[in-house]
């Protein structure tokens, strides 16, 4: 995917500038950095998504952890990153449609939607038809959406470890629903840190892994 990989230091520099704009609440500057200094200079959208936005979000988490920023600042910064993701999506070129439908959703109680959004965009640009349900999706809503959209794959995201039980419940509910063959994949920070047994078909968190795994699960040779 990463055709025009920017040199590491250039990407790191851009990330630092982005983070400053993000914490200053300057959406315009954040977007300008990504589009003009990133996309227009030949950096690939996946590289910017991962190397700038996701890294910046992790940095925001660390800063809260060190109590250098408040929850309010964290929310503002995340809002900017969500908006930036949307603009990067606009600037990206989409692979020809592969005709497969994926439902991407955060589990119930999970308010961190950025990782799920990042994965949803990655799948979309890779040619999947993505239905993104967003943060804090109840099991009822998830079942309704599965029934309405008839997806070829469901991807569930959980970031906070205290949402692991919700993830377990969601997987179980889907398994007990009408389509027992529906492939389910799980991902997010919560999955990587735990040893919880999940009845999912696959687990992936890195966007490239998610796309690769999703293609395998729906039967497209990557």
């Amino acid at each position: 995917m990463e055709v025009h990989a920017a040199p590491g230091d250039e990407l790191a520099q851009l990330r630092a500038r982005y983070l400053r704009a993000q914490l200053a609440g300057d959406l315009d500057d954040a977007l300008r950095l990504l589009i003009e200094d990133g996309v227009h200079r030949g950096m690939s959208v996946p590289a910017l998504q991962r190397g700038v936005l996701r890294e910046a979000q992790l940095e925001i988490g660390r800063l809260w952890q060190e109590n250098q920023i408040s929850v309010a600042q964290e929310h503002m910064a995340t809002a900017i990153s969500n908006t930036a993701l949307s603009y990067l999506y606009e600037a990206a070129s989409r692979a020809p449609s592969n005709g497969k439908r994926v439902l991407v959703s955060c589990v119930e109680g999970e308010l961190h939607e950025f990782p799920a959004r990042l994965v949803a965009d990655g799948l979309d640009l890779a040619g999947f038809e993505v239905h993104y349900l967003g943060a804090n999706v109840s099991q009822e809503r998830l079942l309704e959406a599965v029934a309405a959209e008839q997806p070829d794959l469901v991807a569930l995201s959980a970031t906070m470890s205290f949402n692991l039980s919700a993830l377990q419940n969601a997987v179980r509910t889907l398994r007990e629903s009408a389509d027992k063959q529906l492939p389910i994949m799980v991902g997010g920070a919560a999955c990587s840190s735990s040893g919880v047994e999940l009845d999912a078909d696959a687990s992936a968190t890195e966007v490239a892994d998610v796309i690769h795994t999703a293609k395998q699960l729906v039967g497209i040779s990557a």
Binding site: W64, Q65, E66, N67, S70, V71, A72, H75, T78, A79, N82, T83, L85, S86, Y89, E90, S93, R94, P96, L111, E113, R117, D121, D124, Y132, G134, A135, N136, M160, S161, F162
Partner: protein, 675 residues
């Protein structure tokens, strides 16, 4: 636990813990909010994943007092953010004060976040659609490029085809010209053979023995066959080059069949013991009137009947006619040898006769059927064959009862005069030409009143006063010239400008220059004598001058006139002929069209330019076609005569306008009507 009102409402709490987070002291609010007691671990209150931040706070607070340290704890059983202040109180003890950040603050932020998330979803949706549109546009552009490319391919293919068609057309034209010229070249010696054999058979130079007569008859019949072949070839090449003129006239079906019957009866072979083949003409059930070229229809039927008779040894040849709606059907059936289906197409090819024993016996040019089919097409119809080997054949000619052109001209004739437009009387027997006039003149503010023959023109002239007359010098006799003279003599019509238009052929040109007759070789003896009798004063011995560089032609002429009361003068060259004419003042001059030293036109010019010879009637005799340079020269010399071949729209209108202006007629004047 009893709480005061302030304790009950407060969102603040205070507690003391050791450096590991074990609670040592706490106030009632802390008990209430966090649900903990002395000895509880603060760690147990933390929201999963945020334990590290508690640890950091506890260790940092030992050295420095901390303010606004946010921790995620379970407050009132739900995750909530608490802002802590912490400092070291006594060794290994920490004093903590915390504020539970308002729930609704967090909820509002979550709500805003999810709203924004939805809006960003919309933004993505729009982006995606934009991308799809771009992809589609891209695909369309690509398709467009591909179409462009294939279009270019098609265009070059077209150009190639046009080239091919052009070269085919060119070679067809060359072939046609060669055929036409060769045929004409054949004609001259053929005419000599036919003429001389005729003379011999007439025993004009003494009687022949029976054997000699038989031999001469063979010579003559061979020459006649060759002549028929040459004529068919000429017809075919004319039809193929589109030069064949149609003479469409109304005629009765019944009359045509009667006259055909008379013409074809002699073709039925006479077997020694009476004929085995009967030629039957079915009476047409109704006597319909057809309007097409009778001569061409008869030519096709003659061809078909003579073919049928050739290939039928016994039985009958039956000709039937019928009109069905707008179509006339003619069928010629025989009980002859028939044709295999595989040969149906073949027989319509030139020289495409089918091999058979009978075929070898009978004679034919091999051009009859191809010519017949061409004629059928010219008449707007078809010629089809149905046949079975050994049982006979039926040829069907289907043509429109009213030739399409005749149909159109009828409409043109029937339309009422438009008082806004000046009428132009067009005397023209070729319908196509009338339509060309109509097209050109209608745009220039005139209306064409067509007259297809001189009588028709005379009638029309009695009914209306045209702004001008366009007169085609027709091939059939003197009437056109007489009509011109009539118009010019009559005080009622002499002011009407007459525009003489004609095909630039040698005959018309010759006539315009003053030739009195124009004959195509072979010269028919009877016709020659009749003409001479008409020209010369009765009783006197007329002098006839023959100007021809062909010895054989002059010899033939001499033989023709030998027994007649005419004295023959001969000249082998143009100047010789002119001198002879001036000195001898012959009563008539027979002039070969193509002399070696000068053309007939030059001779004519000289004769007509000299008062001594101007009055002498000149008959032009030819077997040669006009070539392009001759035509060009003629066109250059011509003033009053327009060539149809070069009759462009502009030229026609220009000339006619000039003529009208000379006569003081404007196209806006309302025509007077006279009776």
């Amino acid at each position: 636990m009893t709480l005061s009102f302030s304790e009950e409402c407060s969102r603040e709490l205070s507690l003391v813990c050791d450096s590991d987070g074990t609670i040592l002291q706490l106030d009632k609010r802390a008990e209430r909010i966090l649900g903990v007691q002395v000895g509880s671990e603060l760690r147990a209150c933390m929201v999963a994943g945020s334990e590290d931040k508690l640890k950091t706070m506890l260790s940092e607070a030992r050295n420095t007092p901390l303010r606004n340290w946010e921790l995620a704890l379970l407050a009132f059983g739900k995750p909530a953010t608490l802002s802590f202040c912490a400092r070291a109180a006594e060794p290994h003890k920490l004093e903590l004060h915390a504020l539970v950040l308002p729930d609704n603050y967090g909820e509002t932020v979550e709500h805003l976040s999810s709203t924004m998330s939805q809006m960003l979803g919309l933004h993505r949706e729009i982006s995606r659609q934009k991308k799809e549109l771009e992809t589609k546009t891209h695909e369309l552009l690509k398709t467009n490029r591909e179409l462009d490319e294939s279009n270019r391919g098609v265009l070059s293919l077209h150009a190639e085809l046009a080239d091919k068609a052009e070269s085919l057309r060119h070679s067809a034209e060359v072939r046609g010209r060669v055929v036409a010229n060769v045929s004409h070249e054949f004609r001259t010696p053929l005419h000599t053979i036919l003429g001389l054999s005729r003379l011999l058979l007439d025993a004009s130079d003494g009687p022949l023995t029976d054997e000699q007569q038989k031999q001469i008859r063979f010579i003559r019949s061979s020459a006649e066959e060759l002549s028929a072949l040459v004529n068919d070839m000429l017809d075919l090449s004319k039809a193929e080059s589109g030069k064949m003129l149609l003479r469409v006239n109304p005629f009765g079906l019944h009359d045509m069949i009667s006259s055909l019957r008379g013409q074809l009866r002699p073709l039925v072979p006479l077997a020694p013991n009476g004929t085995d083949v009967e030629l039957v003409f079915e009476e047409p059930s109704t006597d319909a009137t057809l309007e097409t070229d009778q001569g061409k229809v008869a030519q096709v039927l003659r061809n078909l009947v003579s073919n049928a008779l050739k290939f039928t040894e016994r039985g009958e040849v039956r000709v039937s006619v019928g009109v069905e709606g707008d179509t006339a059907h003619f069928a010629v059936s025989d009980t002859g040898i028939g044709i295999g289906a595989a040969d149906y197409a073949h027989i319509f090819e030139e020289f495409g006769q089918v091999d058979s024993p009978l075929q070898a016996k009978v004679k034919g040019t091999g051009l009859g059927l191809p010519l017949s089919r061409k004629l059928a097409e010219l008449l707007g119809g078809t010629l089809q064959v149905e046949s079975e080997l050994g049982k006979g054949s039926t040829f069907r000619l289907s043509i429109p009862a009213c030739h399409p052109e005749a149909h159109e001209i009828k409409q043109l004739e029937a339309r009422p005069l438009d008082p806004e437009k000046a009428p132009v009387l067009v005397v023209e027997d070729d319908r196509k030409t009338i339509f060309i006039y109509e097209k050109y003149l209608a745009n220039a503010g005139f209306q064409v009143v067509p007259a297809r023959n001189i009588d028709h023109a005379r009638n029309l002239l009695r009914q209306l006063r045209p702004a001008a007359i366009v007169l085609d010098i027709m091939l059939d006799g003197e009437t056109s010239w007489n009509f011109l003279a009539e118009v010019k003599r009559d005080p009622r019509t002499h002011e009407i400008p007459v525009l003489v238009v004609t095909v630039t052929n040698k005959e018309q040109k010759a006539r315009a220059l003053g030739a009195d007759e124009f004959w195509l070789k072979p010269v028919d003896q009877d016709r020659l004598l009749r003409k001479l009798r008409a020209l010369s004063r009765p009783g006197s011995s007329a002098k006839v001058l023959v100007i021809d560089d062909d010895d054989r032609a002059r010899y033939l002429m001499r033989k023709y006139l030998e027994k007649e009361p005419y004295s023959l003068l001969e000249a082998a060259t143009g100047p010789e002929g002119i001198t002879c004419a001036r000195e001898q003042r012959p009563d008539v001059i027979l002039l070969d069209f193509l002399l070696r030293d000068m053309t007939a036109f030059d001779v004519l010019d000289d004769l007509k330019g000299d008062p001594r010879t101007r009055g002498i009637p000149v008959v032009i005799i030819t077997s040669h076609m006009l070539d392009a340079t001759e035509r060009q020269r003629l066109a250059a010399e011509t003033e009053v005569i327009l060539s149809k071949a070069s009759l462009s729209r502009e030229l026609a209108i220009h000339r006619i306008r000039d003529a009208l202006q000379k006569a003081g007629v404007s196209k806006w004047s309302t025509p007077g009507v006279e009776h």
